[in-house]
Assembly symmetry: C2
Homo-oligomer: 324 residues x 2
């Protein structure tokens, strides 16, 4: 029988890894545990960017060029919202159009919001959405409770220096350009992690190639997750999201530098060494393998840039094989 | 100076009358007081069908063929919602598609819902939406508080005999086919009417050609409205929504019959005689004028079927002229 796999996941990188994994092992034995600290409420609708990116990608319906949302998307509602920009009072954010909600993507948010209003848990709704999209892998939000990433901008930020800002406002509205001095996960203290049993009992746990600070960080901030990983460290493997000192997508490298890590596979190894035995790094970073090992992790070198489905499949097989 | 006019309004018929009125008198001196008992929450969004029909029509953007919504509409979100029909659990109404929300119409609901969540009153949001659509006439919801029309189906209804049903479920989902035994306006008792000062002080008050029971009825159910109308009855004029024993649109005639009124201009006169001095009826009903007068109302006979903008303009001029 294929090994059971639990994957700690953020957005695009994790989604592509999971798509590769779905071809490597029986997808019904994989559980993706997905960051929800990026979630937000827009126009009254609950939007879960990482959950949706994972679901859409596994359904084969994601827009790979844009990197988020559904392929073949249209923007009629968003265009119509622009009408209200001039009439909303000062201080109101109603009708904001900086977060691009596509017409067909909106349906997911409408369904989720309606189900949550009916009293369903995010866990239950996420599973319904997964089934609606015909995805075989289990997709579990990291918790049912709202946890929200808040970034504190650095004093040298050109925008609102020193101010707190919601993750999506920083990430999307300001294109993650303003430097960050601090990251907090509001609500993580009291939130109950989901699928902790999978983290404990799966044959393999993978930390997907996602931002260690704001994608994997919120999952680790939940009570008991780090302890469960540390207790089985030998069969926990991470894929580095940093390749050649850069993130393939998003602000991980710059953020690591700002928050005191080295923006390299070595920096990633230092963040994960306590909970994870093995780091998969890209071939371009092969010369850093000794430093990864010095940081306390076994190191596997392979192609990690998932430019097509076959690379993703090979990466998944190598990653699982490293600890299985 | 043109007379100031307050118009008690429902949906399509009222909207067309108001469009005619906007060409007859200075639109900035007209206030439409609009039924909100048809409002509903769909997918977490606050939807106000009569307010939107009035706004879209006065903006010249309504779809006249369909009779509701915006012209040039698309339905991408609604089509995408259908995906969830098979995964929602029994008893859930999430992802329902029987209420057709167009992509550009959705923007209005998103804006309204976001503003209400920010603490704005429905009155304030309605005014912002009016301005966003460039409408000069004032548009005021009958109250800021939620009032909901509930129909009790008749014992001979083929659907859920004897059951209570929300207005939109009955009107849209069941195409107002099931016979109704009773109508109630839940929340009307405690709700504060808006624009009661306009009802008292406008030079003319018009009761638009809307369903007397479920469009005008909820406005009249608010505390003080009937008294304000009765106190100035001589300058209150109604346009009959019943022409030749039928409603031009919607269930008014059948509903009047079921609820004990005659489905004719005479039945309308009996419902309005206490609060209104004059009834405008269509030429096809000219022979009923003596009966309208016997019911206690002056009667004006003219063309009331607003098949084009010029008929609407002439009707507005005749209606205002009857009591000004």
């Amino acid at each position: 029988m294929d090994p059971s796999v639990a994957v700690l996941a953020g957005g695009v990188g994790a989604a592509r890894f999971l798509a590769g994994l779905s071809r490597a092992v029986d997808p019904t034995r994989t559980t993706a545990i997905v960051n929800t600290a990026d979630d937000t409420v827009l126009h009254g609708l609950t939007v879960c960017p990482d959950l949706d990116t994972v679901t859409y990608t596994l359904a084969g319906l994601s827009d790979d060029e844009r990197g988020w949302g559904l392929s073949g998307e249209t923007w009629r509602t968003l265009e119509a919202l622009a009408r209200f920009a001039d009439v909303r009072p000062a201080g109101s954010t109603a009708g904001s159009t900086w977060f691009s909600l596509g017409d067909t993507d909106l349906a997911t948010h409408l369904y989720r919001t309606a189900r949550l209003a009916e009293g369903a848990t995010l866990h239950a709704v996420t599973d319904e959405i997964r089934r609606a999209f015909g995805v075989a892998q289990r997709i579990v939000p990291m918790t049912n409770e709202p946890v929200r990433t808040i970034v504190t901008l650095a004093d040298d930020s050109p925008v609102s220096p020193g101010a707190d800002m919601s993750f999506q406002e920083w990430f999307v509205r300001h294109r993650h350009a303003p430097p960050v001095a601090k990251v907090a996960f509001v609500g993580a203290d009291g939130a109950v992690p989901l699928a902790l049993d999978h983290v404990a009992s799966a044959d393999v746990v993978v930390i997907a190639p996602s931002n260690p600070l704001v994608s994997i960080g919120p999952i680790r901030a939940l009570s008991g997750v780090d302890a469960a990983l540390a207790a089985r460290r030998d069969t926990v493997v991470a894929v580095s999201p940093i390749v050649g000192g850069r993130a393939l997508k998003g602000p991980a490298a710059e953020m690591m530098r700002r928050l005191g890590s080295e923006a390299s596979v070595v920096g990633v190894a230092r963040l994960y060494a306590g909970i994870c035995s093995t780091l998969v790094i890209d071939s371009v970073d092969a010369d850093l393998a000794p430093e990864v090992e010095a940081a306390g992790m076994a190191c596997v070198v392979t192609d990690t840039v998932m430019s097509d489905a076959d690379v993703a499949l090979a990466l998944a097989l190598t990653t699982i094989g490293a600890v299985a």
